[in-house]
Symmetry: C2
Subunit: 352 residues, 2 copies
């Protein structure tokens, strides 16, 4: 079992945190004010099942409110799903977000792993994967994937989900980072999920709207799928300020469009510049972060690099504790240009 270490745990102030994958533009305009002016929400119980927010999300995704249930972060839903569907043999596509494994284990099960190869740039070989499917009743797939940034084309996801449908398995598709993609509307397979009872889609509002402190995620699926999850949920799971924030930010199309363009441009810049650093291999990413590998670099590993950068006030995510990766790998978030330049220059110096 891997260590339970995550990005975003750097609690020291004045450190530029590249370990956390949230929107570098900061909170949507006016959100801080809205929270400040509505502290009376604290005095009242939240709506037990976040009906208003659910309806807004349903409208945004053109599904029914019965196709959605909210979570205290999508992590609540990740932990509920194995119990809700009485999963017995889960397959996790690695390297990936380590909490799928912890969620499965917390339900008393040992997951199996399908390792995506470094040689394939961490892209999934769907043919090989489909051979493994029949022996499992659930597959966890993160798309775009954390920490590799690789993305599976929606034709492939559809193919997998339909295979699952035939054999009555469940595809748990975590689209936590898909909104950062300019292609997100084309890439998502939400329209399939509401029809196909073998597919659930996890979404996060935390990362895209830079509000991880509030906790807000949701799951989209067929009505029957949602009912099974809701049955295990406790009331008032989403706090009142998260509900308020969620309702407000979904109306901010300017922030959404600006973010996607910003990330696309800045990611390309980082990809090119990091790719030119001697001793570094950089993997193509469709998310708001980039996976890098030390290749013949003059440091022991990403642990040592992390320590060196920390002295310069920069924190990166060493990836040695991801199953399927090793101490040569690290992940950096896409941030604003000044920060990104500081990161790139500092890495260059450290690897000189």
């Amino acid at each position: 079992m891997t260590d339970r270490i995550h990005g975003g745990n750097c609690l020291k102030r004045n450190i530029i945190d590249f370990s956390v994958n949230t929107n570098p533009l900061g909170l949507p305009k006016g959100l801080s004010d809205i929270i400040s002016k509505n502290t009376d929400r604290i005095l009242r119980y939240p709506d037990p099942s976040s009906e208003r927010l659910k309806r807004k999300l349903a409208a945004l995704h053109r599904v029914g409110p019965e196709n959605i249930t909210m979570g205290n972060g999508s992590i609540e839903l990740i932990y509920l799903i194995p119990a809700a569907f009485k999963i017995k043999k889960a397959l996790i596509i690695t390297p990936t977000f380590s909490e799928y494994e912890f969620a499965v284990r917390s339900n008393g099960l040992n997951p199996a792993f399908f390792n995506v190869s470094e040689k394939d740039n961490f892209n999934i070989n769907c043919g090989k994967l489909s051979e493994r499917l029949p022996r499992h009743d659930a597959v966890f797939l993160c798309n775009p994937n954390n920490p590799t940034g690789s993305v599976l084309h929606n034709d492939d996801v559809l193919y997998l989900s339909r295979l699952d449908r035939k054999r009555k398995g469940l595809l748990i598709l975590d689209e936590a980072f898909i909104e950062f993609n300019t292609d997100s509307k084309r890439t998502t397979i939400i329209s399939e999920a509401v029809k196909n009872g073998s597919l659930v889609i996890l979404r996060s509002l935390t990362k895209f709207f830079a509000m991880p402190g509030l906790r807000l995620g949701y799951v989209i699926g067929h009505k029957r799928i949602i009912e099974r999850i809701v049955k295990l949920q406790y009331p008032w799971n989403v706090n009142g300020l998260a509900q308020l924030a969620g309702e407000k930010v979904l109306a901010d199309k300017v922030y959404m469009d600006r973010t996607r363009l910003f990330i696309a441009k800045e990611r390309q810049y980082m990809f090119e510049r990091l790719g030119n650093v001697k001793g570094l291999k950089v993997y193509p990413s469709s998310a708001n972060f980039i996976l890098c590998k030390l290749v013949n670099a003059p440091v022991q590993g990403s642990g040592e690099l992390t320590q060196r950068l920390l002295r310069k006030g920069i924190y990166i995510r060493a990836c040695g504790n991801f199953r399927g990766l090793n101490d040569k790998f690290f992940r950096v978030a896409v941030r604003r240009r000044d920060d990104n330049n500081l990161l790139i220059n500092s890495i260059e110096k450290a690897l000189r």
Copy 2:
């Protein structure tokens, strides 16, 4: 199965809400400002397991941080406990908070019920209860009890928990309302819980500190008991603003003392005045609410009374959907004197 209806769901403004059992003094002084000035907390992930807050609570209760785990409201913990202890035969002492039943059922089990009699003023007969214990592996007990306000003396709770210990059962003691009691330090059996692995104590910060919108609860028990619950918990379950608020309010001794004196005095006042209303029976309470019963009153039931009072801008909690009660019962929270007078006068008029 009873309907899933709760107090505190009255979303209309300008209604005085007696259905919700939170502190009538409102937020502790300065809390609203602290939230307003710290909206940058939204931008950061919360501490995944609320370590700072846990340490403060541990110091307050004179236990170790290993004896506590935090919940997204105590309701998160109520739902986790049946799974964490693989409970098979749960006994719920009724009438009580309906979520114990829902939590047990959401884990796929049918609970049994020990009905406390109206004739005994809803006080538990410990002799009779102890006869039922051997056939169950877990007992849910709310102390003081919601909605009856009755309290079990700590000698009796100790007696029950030690019976549980002998037969390796679990006593789940919900002390969500105990802090409202001037006797709370004497009544709680926290010091026993950290030694006795057959006892867990649930606590809420939501109700006493009037911040149900933020969600904050915890459980205290033996280190081994806590470990079993933590194993099922997902990270970042408590949001950053709830953590911040929790840390601040625990230092406000003035608010705590003032609340206890205020509730004791105001509850006594309400008990006496409501007790003098013709057509009403009132039950003694050790919490911040009072259970009332319509006796030969000129209304059909508490549903009709609720509708009549709503027209006057007052909302009470009809208790017809509590297992073990019926449509003759309703519950009112202890609020400020002006509100309480308005309630009492309006009930008097309605029952004339």
